[in-house]
């Protein structure tokens, strides 16, 4: 079931939480609403569910207008950030709740309900906890029970509010994979809210980046990471190295730093954005770029060695960060305080007088 969102405006008193949101969430896909806190992503999710009412705009499920339909009649599955399990009910009673409150003529018989609950608990691999109370479960278990409870009504739309926010890193990773495989198996349309870029990029088919109640960009994870539309999206999706300067005669300069730009760059004030993996570190400056640094810190933990760099003879707001392989690190043995140079392979140029960023390549 696809979800069409059209011209949604939402106010909380005088504060406008959402500005004219237009968005289509395709059938059967996993879509992430990504943004910092206060960006309106949870409000949008709650509007889709019917837990909040927008002042303006329409919501359609596969073309059917549901804007004025009550939450309880929208038949969506909703997983709350803090699980919201019924604390006085056992796990089995929690999962059966949706079935038990159905009007008598639609309600399945007791044995049928028991069987459905058993199947759902098997699906989340927690059959053995059926008689426990929520307080006796771990965070990951609670989350899976919350999912089973939401799935009990066989919704075609599943909405998840920061589903992994309150879990520790290891459990989060397991659950993420599990949700992905569950989604691939059952093919419902899911929307989940997150502030974790990695989670959004890893899990979803489509990412909606939001900030200040507006949609910044809607794209596949690959496109979004490779070709961000705006400075905000660029900065929000991972580490970024920035060189601010002035372009003159095809060269961008600031202090001792300069970089030769490919053909066709107008004279302007500009910022060059570079991802850590788009930059190489060298002992000497090349003829295309002169970006001197001092090594400020070296972080060995992880698949790559992360090196923090402080500009030498020019300025930037935040330290640069470059990743090199452990093999390269062992071969060169850089030390804190060493002088080195950065050579970009790919960069994204944001000019003051241009609407669109430009992707540059030097290779």
């Amino acid at each position: 079931m696809s979800i069409e969102i059209q011209g949604i405006n939402k106010f909380f008193d005088k504060f406008q939480a959402l500005h004219d949101i237009n968005l289509t969430i395709p059938d059967g896909q996993l879509t992430a609403l990504l943004g910092p806190s206060g960006s309106g992503k949870t409000t949008l999710l709650r509007i889709i569910a019917g837990l909040e009412t927008p002042e303006e705009g329409r919501i359609r499920f596969s073309g059917r207008d549901v804007t004025d339909l009550h939450v309880r009649d929208r038949r969506v599955g909703f997983v709350f950030q803090h699980y919201a399990l019924f604390r006085h009910m056992t796990v089995a009673e929690n999962v059966a709740f949706g079935l038990n409150v159905l009007p008598r003529k639609e309600r399945p018989g007791k044995p049928e309900i028991r069987k459905r609950v058993k199947d759902l608990l098997e699906m989340v691999q927690l059959e053995h906890l059926a008689d426990r109370y929520p307080a006796q479960l771990s965070g990951g278990q609670k989350q899976r029970i919350a999912l089973a409870r939401a799935m009990a009504m066989r919704p075609e739309i599943l909405l998840l509010d920061e589903p992994f926010g309150a879990l520790d890193a290891k459990v989060r990773k397991d659950l993420r994979r599990w949700l992905r495989s569950l989604h691939d198996e059952l093919h419902f349309t899911s929307v989940f809210v997150t502030h974790d870029q990695e989670e959004a990029l890893e899990l979803s088919d489509q990412v909606v980046v939001m900030s200040n109640g507006r949609i910044e960009q809607v794209d596949t994870p690959l496109e979004l990471y490779g070709r961000p539309d705006s400075r905000f999206v660029f900065e929000f999706l991972g580490q970024v190295n920035v060189l601010s300067g002035r372009i003159g005669d095809g060269v961008m300069r600031q202090g001792d730093a300069w970089i030769r730009l490919p053909e066709g760059c107008e004279n302007d004030d500009a910022q060059l954005y570079l991802r850590p993996h788009e930059v190489r570190l060298t002992q000497a400056a090349s003829d295309q770029a002169h970006l001197p640094f001092r090594i400020e810190a070296i972080n060995l933990i992880g698949a790559e060695v992360r090196i923090e760099l402080k500009p030498d003879g020019w300025e930037c707001e935040e330290l640069w960060e470059v990743g090199i392989s452990h093999t390269e690190f062992n071969a060169r043995q850089p030390q804190r305080g060493d002088r080195c140079f950065a050579v970009p392979d790919v960069g994204h140029l944001f000019c003051e007088h241009a609407a669109e960023p430009k992707t540059l390549e030097w290779r």
């Binding site: 837990l51 309880r72 399990l85 019924f86 709740f97």
Partner: protein, 276 residues
């Protein structure tokens, strides 16, 4: 020396013993002795005297009236309290903060003043009372008036117990219920009520204790008609003014008994509440 090092402020044995001793003496003098004295006085004429005092026509009537008042007040305030707590914790509307403050008015106002206010409004010369008088309805100096002031005096108890709890529990569980298709009533019965039942019971116990024992407001609106509008606390005072000390204490012992039962039930409920 080593022991001294670990001592905290106010931990010296002298301070500790003085404070504990003072607390014990005060408890015995102010709380325990009077309670014992009630029963000693009540049984001053022996068991038979006690029973005959209780079975006094007017005392029996007072017991009956007190029970009627409690039976009407408690359910009314239970429903009202739940409704109010639900309103204040689950909805945002202008004047919500003001309402939360207004709930406490019956606690802030002296019961005698509350009684006088009701008399002023509903008495035969009052604004509403005059109008009601034209239809031959008399509220003051009869049992409806007593119930009205008792409801007023005890109405904050349930809401005050529920509001902090419901605020702390939040509305997520109710939202989860409604997304799963529960109707308003199903939501209340299956999700909200089970979560608040112990606090609700606690509020009901307190309401009941106060409804049974209320003196000031009731004494203003009842008119003290023996055998007609006398509740148990008023009967105690009347008996005492008639120099029937033993009778007064016998009636008091009933109130004290209710108080003791209340304390026991309250302790049990508190224990259950802390376990949940």
């Amino acid at each position: 020396m080593a022991a001294r090092k670990h001592r905290r402020v106010g931990d010296s044995p002298l301070v500790r013993r003085t404070l504990i001793g003072l607390a014990v003496v005060l408890t015995v003098l102010l709380l325990f002795m009077p309670l014992v004295l009630i029963f000693v006085q009540a049984f001053a004429e022996g068991w038979a005297g006690y029973v005959s005092n209780i079975l006094n026509e007017y005392t029996l009537h007072a017991i009956g009236l007190t029970l009627v008042v409690a039976l009407l007040t408690v359910p009314l305030n239970m429903v009202f309290g739940v409704f109010l707590a639900w309103l204040v914790t689950r909805f945002r509307f202008p004047g919500r903060k003001l309402l939360t403050t207004l709930i406490d008015i019956p606690f802030a106002v002296s019961p005698v003043v509350a009684g006088l206010l009701f008399l002023l409004l509903y008495g035969s010369n009052g604004w509403v009372g005059q109008w009601l008088g034209e239809y031959d309805i008399q509220l003051m100096f009869s049992w409806p008036g007593i119930v009205m002031v008792t409801v007023f005096v005890t109405c904050p108890f349930v809401a005050r117990e529920l509001i902090p709890l419901m605020q702390q529990q939040g509305r997520e569980e109710e939202e989860a219920g409604v997304v799963l298709g529960a109707s308003g009533w199903q939501l209340f019965r299956r999700v909200t009520l089970p979560n608040i039942r112990w606090a609700l019971l606690y509020g009901v116990i307190l309401t009941n204790a106060r409804a049974v024992g209320e003196f000031g407001a009731v004494s203003v609106v009842s008119g003290n008609i023996r055998g007609e509008t006398n509740t148990l606390p008023l009967q105690v005072e009347l008996l005492y003014q008639d120099y029937n000390t033993v009778g007064a204490f016998a009636a008091s012992s009933l109130l004290a008994g209710i108080a003791l039962i209340t304390l026991v039930v309250k302790a049990i409920v508190e224990w259950r509440q802390s376990r949940n």
